[in-house]
């Protein structure tokens, strides 16, 4: 999460920006913009919303630079601002009446990637379904999965970016993965035949059934 081996550190660029250097912030943002975009587009799914969130975050960072205390790396601070901007948009979107357009948004986000949707490997179809399913999670779970599973952040880095404990990140990611599972069942081609051979077929994705150890009671697995 550090700024890499650039000659001038991120911290120094931010200090220069606060001191009035007109170019320092542009240089700093240039270093991290692709990564920040990757977070925004995966969190929001919709390119237009992601662009607005990234712009909101960038302006906020520009103006609030003097509030940076150095408690974390500059890049973590930048990520936190952009993620919060994205989460704000997700919450606002969630509060609006749904029009059933979330799947279409996910489709649009992927359709503009330049990859053919009918990729023989099936990758694109999978990506569309996974993205659509992801959009149905609560924002906090989405953000955790985007950082940890999609972008490969460590739990510790994700916790810093999200401003929560590592345990909270793990909890959100675990719940998010569990809730994605039934929505992605159709993407597991080998599952169906095996499923039929199991005595409890069809129940594995119903965690509320009495025989399944519920998540909230994970410690109560006495034989």
């Amino acid at each position: 999460m550090r700024g890499g081996d650039d000659a001038v550190s991120d911290e120094e660029l931010l200090r220069k920006h606060v001191a009035g250097d007109p170019d320092a912030f542009g240089e700093l943002f240039q270093r991290h913009r692709d990564r920040l975009w990757a977070v925004a587009i995966r969190t929001l799914g919709d390119p237009e919303e992601a662009a607005d969130a990234l712009q909101d975050g960038m302006i906020a960072a520009f103006r609030r630079a003097s509030s940076f205390r150095g408690d974390s790396a500059v890049t973590t601070w930048l990520h936190r601002i952009v993620v919060n901007a994205a989460l704000d948009r997700m919450r606002r979107r969630a509060s609006r009446p749904t029009t059933g357009g979330q799947d279409e948004e996910a489709l649009d986000a992927l359709a503009t990637s330049g990859r053919p949707l009918s990729d023989p490997s099936g990758t694109s179809d999978t990506a569309i379904d996974v993205t659509a399913a992801l959009r149905r999670l609560v924002p906090e779970q989405q953000a955790a999965l985007v950082l940890v599973d999609m972008l490969g952040y460590s739990i510790a880095d994700a916790a810093e970016v999200l401003g929560v404990s590592e345990g909270t990140v793990k909890s959100r990611a675990a719940r998010g993965r569990a809730r994605l599972l039934p929505r992605l069942a159709h993407l597991r081609p080998a599952a169906a035949p095996e499923q039929e051979s199991l005595p409890d077929a069809g129940r594995r994705n119903q965690p509320a059934t009495p025989r399944v150890l519920p998540a909230q009671e994970g410690g109560d697995e006495t034989p």
Partner: protein, 306 residues
């Protein structure tokens, strides 16, 4: 342990979120339970599916990159006009609630309302062309006093655009002629005395987008001509003369803009300097023949501080 394990617990197990003793009991159960083994396999596949989907997202679009450059340039230009002389850049810009525009009114294509108004307030217009974005400065008919802060914004957007800037040669100035550098630009902009501050700030923003204002203490620009080649700036006798002019005009201040243009209809060179610890930002209008020995100042404006 006789009960089956939930997907969430299995996911927690994958994330090392289960205490060791409990994790060992769960694993022992899973190893003997076909159903839980299958479920564990499916749970473990979810992060792989997410990672696979992640690879399908597009990189940052070029138009967004340009848009963000524009916003940064505009923010920098706005800050330039508002920076206090004693402590440049330390003062925060107005609270977000004060500058956040309402979600209605005139909006330029491809640019958020906020950026549009900031740009408009500075007297710059972003035009979306067939091949992308171009920046052109305009005369904003706001009836303002000429400061960026007092322009009324989107409600008084200009009607016509001037051609975009062209990049010119790099001029080294300051001690030993090597410590600072600025890329000259040229345009057909006709700066007006009553709007000079706003137009100068807009020009700085536009020059930044064009890559002309890329130099800072990190090092000099790597090239002396842009993709479009150096601009024709026939009225400048030599970059040496311009360097002398900048030394004379700017002193210890950093130069943000050297634009060959017009001022009240006559050829002129517009020079904008950044605020530093002792001086506020300045706009100098000089004749194209400006040099170290003969600065030929036509107009001088200290950018207002609010």
């Amino acid at each position: 342990m006789s009960r089956h394990v939930s997907a969430e617990v299995l996911a927690s197990l994958d994330l090392d979120a289960v205490k060791p003793r409990k994790a060992a009991r769960i694993r022992a159960h899973v190893s003997t339970c076909v159903q839980c083994t299958q479920l564990s396999s499916e749970v473990s596949a979810v992060p792989r599916m997410l990672a696979s989907a992640s690879a399908s997202y597009q990189a940052m679009p070029e138009n967004l990159s340009v848009r963000l450059d524009t916003v940064i340039a505009t923010e920098s230009a706005q800050r330039l006009a508002q920076a206090p002389a004693s402590e440049a850049g330390r003062r925060d810009l107005p609270e977000r609630s004060r500058v956040r525009p309402e979600r209605h009114g005139w909006q330029l294509p491809g640019l958020s309302v906020l950026a549009t108004r900031l740009v408009a307030a500075a007297g710059a217009l972003v035009i979306v062309g067939v091949g992308g974005y171009e920046i052109a400065t305009n005369a904003v008919d706001t009836g303002s006093s000429g400061t960026a802060a007092s322009s009324s914004g989107a409600a008084a957007l200009p009607r016509s655009a001037t051609p975009p800037m062209s990049l010119g040669p790099t001029v080294h100035y300051g001690p030993a002629k090597a410590s600072k550098a600025i890329r000259m630009v040229s345009s057909n902009m006709n700066f007006q005395p009553s709007k000079l501050a706003g137009e100068a700030i807009a020009a700085v923003a536009a020059a930044r987008v064009h890559g002309a204002v890329g130099f800072n203490a990190l090092g000099p620009p790597s090239a002396t001509s842009g993709a479009n080649g150096p601009a024709k700036i026939p009225t400048v006798s030599s970059t040496g003369a311009v360097a002398g002019c900048l030394d004379r005009i700017a002193g210890k201040q950093t130069v943000l803009l050297v634009e060959m243009a017009k001022y009240s209809g006559r050829p002129a060179m517009i020079i904008v300097t950044a605020a530093n610890a002792s001086r506020s930002a300045q706009v100098w209008v000089v004749a194209p023949t400006c040099s170290g020995s003969h600065p030929d100042v036509l107009h001088h404006l200290r950018l207002s501080r609010t």
